[in-house]
């Protein structure tokens, strides 16, 4: 069952088109990885879902009901964790949660139960400490705790791990995974390993347009499973020669200290060897590695890709 359906969503800031017709389908009880570079339109899309800004066109349908520009009632079922959670620094975490519970409309007894549960589930340390003394990671946990109070049908998370240390990031991903059976999560990130490890489905946005949508497996299996890597002392000349004459290449890109190549469907590794031999090009290493989501992301989006 589709819980969130976005069709042809458009938003401009002056002459800049932030969203050029975004389409998203989020099924109930899945973790949807909404990935894209910084500035691709992820936060704008999430802000549009939350009605934090007006859009120029398109529709957002949540739980079968279209969301109007002035609607607020649907937020009873939708929680939002912003990329940089900010809370009044003069309140303790517990007071912040209490205030959240009041804004949600919980009575005192239910609020206390849910606050205890949220503190426990998010492992929120020092709940009676003022939020002003909290680290970024603790504020993220508090934001998630506030979101959990609502027991939402849909949880929107905007780059929640982008500023966390590795341990904080691992813990947060575990927490997100543990929520999977209770709620649907739209998880925005540019960290693809995070998306690959927790998401059922991926949507790739670039310059306000969706480039890909599907399960991680279907996206990876729809492409050549390998990326080929060349290391050489004369990287520039190898790059130019391959780019100019290698007809078996789909794309080639200059990376830090090596070249990366995608081959056309009909080509294989021996075509590279033959070409290098024929052209008398010396290289140090030719290797291949199995593609992950990062490679697909770079292949689809990176401007440094040179299509051959």
């Amino acid at each position: 069952m589709t819980l969130l359906k976005i069709e042809n969503l458009k938003k401009s800031y002056g002459h800049f088109q932030a969203l050029k017709g975004v389409d998203i389908n989020v099924e109930a009880n899945e973790i949807y990885g909404f990935i894209g570079k910084n500035g691709a339109g992820k936060t704008t899309t999430l802000n549009a879902i939350m009605n934090f800004l007006s859009t120029d066109g398109g529709s957002i349908i949540f739980d079968g009901e279209p969301i109007g520009p002035l609607d607020t009632a649907y937020k009873e079922k939708v929680a939002f964790v912003p990329d940089v959670p900010a809370f009044p620094t003069y309140l303790t975490a517990r007071e912040t949660l209490k205030l959240s519970a009041e804004l949600i409309g919980l009575d005192d007894k239910e609020a206390d139960l849910r606050i205890q549960d949220a503190i426990k589930r998010t492992s929120l340390a020092y709940p009676d400490k003022k939020v002003g003394g909290y680290s970024r990671g603790m504020k993220q946990r508090l934001a998630i705790a506030c979101a959990l109070l609502k027991r939402p049908k849909l949880l929107l998370m905007d780059e929640p791990t982008s500023a966390l240390d590795p341990v904080g990031r691992r813990d947060l991903l575990e927490l997100v995974k543990s929520l999977k059976n209770e709620t649907t999560i739209l998880y925005s990130t540019h960290i693809l390993s995070d998306a690959q490890s927790i998401c059922d489905k991926i949507g790739l946005i670039d310059h306000g347009v969706m480039r890909l949508e599907g399960t991680v497996r279907s996206i990876l299996s729809s492409r050549d499973p390998f990326v080929y890597i060349i290391e050489s002392e004369n990287l520039n000349s190898v790059f130019e020669a391959l780019k100019r004459s290698a007809t078996f290449l789909k794309s080639i890109r200059m990376m830090e200290g090596h070249l990366e190549m995608d081959l056309r469907e009909t080509a294989n590794q021996s075509d590279i060897f033959d070409f290098l031999k024929r052209s008398k090009i010396d290289i140090d290493t030719l290797a291949r590695k199995t593609k992950n989501l990062d490679d697909v992301f770079v292949e689809v989006l990176d401007e440094t890709i040179t299509s051959v």
């Binding site: 802000n47 800004l53 007006s54 939708v78 939002f80 959670p85 900010a86 009044p88 205030l99």
Partner: protein
Amino acid sequence: MMSSWRCSMKPLLRYELFYFTKTSRLIVLGAVAFILSALAALSARYMHEILAYVFRQEGIEPPPMDPVTVADAYVEFFSQYAQIYVLVLLFIAVGAFTHDRTKNHYPFIFSHGTRKNHYVSAKFIMIVAAMLVSLAVGVLSFFFYAQVLFGTFDFLRFFGGVALFVLFMIFLIVFAGLVTFATGSYVIGLVVSIGAYILMTSITFVDFGVFGYLPNQLINQANLFVVGDGEPRVLFMTSLISVVVTVLLYLATLKVFSRKPLS
């Protein structure tokens, strides 16, 4: 359990109350009111002595002066408040209007379905409440000092003047709210509000036709009322028009903020 889709005013008022109490703004406002009130009574009572001392220091015999009365203290009270208290209140009010935007608290507040008109109303209510609490402190301290120094106090007259002053302050707060929510800027909100205040109080001499009943005449009217020179018809008309203008500004603020993006 989840209540029916609810009015968010109560938690919003609590949120604003926390802001005023836990950040000491209420204490600052109350302290300013207390000090200004004490100063007003003391300076009115001893102004002649101070002037006479200054004259004698210069070797000049002080001119004869009318004996001071409690009415001089009333006038001094409004003068002190119009010069200092108003500015302090504007600083605090504009800060309260922009605080959530500049500190990025909007996602926390509005992701729960909080209505924008409730949010704006809660801000206005709590700022006005903070002003009334601080004024209560100021009025009580003024009453104490005036009673001790002058031995008399006309409650009715003084409270009438304070009521007119409060009406003017509410108008000014709502005006500052409109400018600040429209621009989203602390600096612009503050500069425009203070500029408008200075302009309004400096053109009170323009009092022909409807100009004689606009909100900027309220402080003048308060001064006239406490010394017993207030004209009931003018007082009534000025108050009525001020209330109408304030309500219109409030509605305009709701409209302006309803169109503002929250990100």
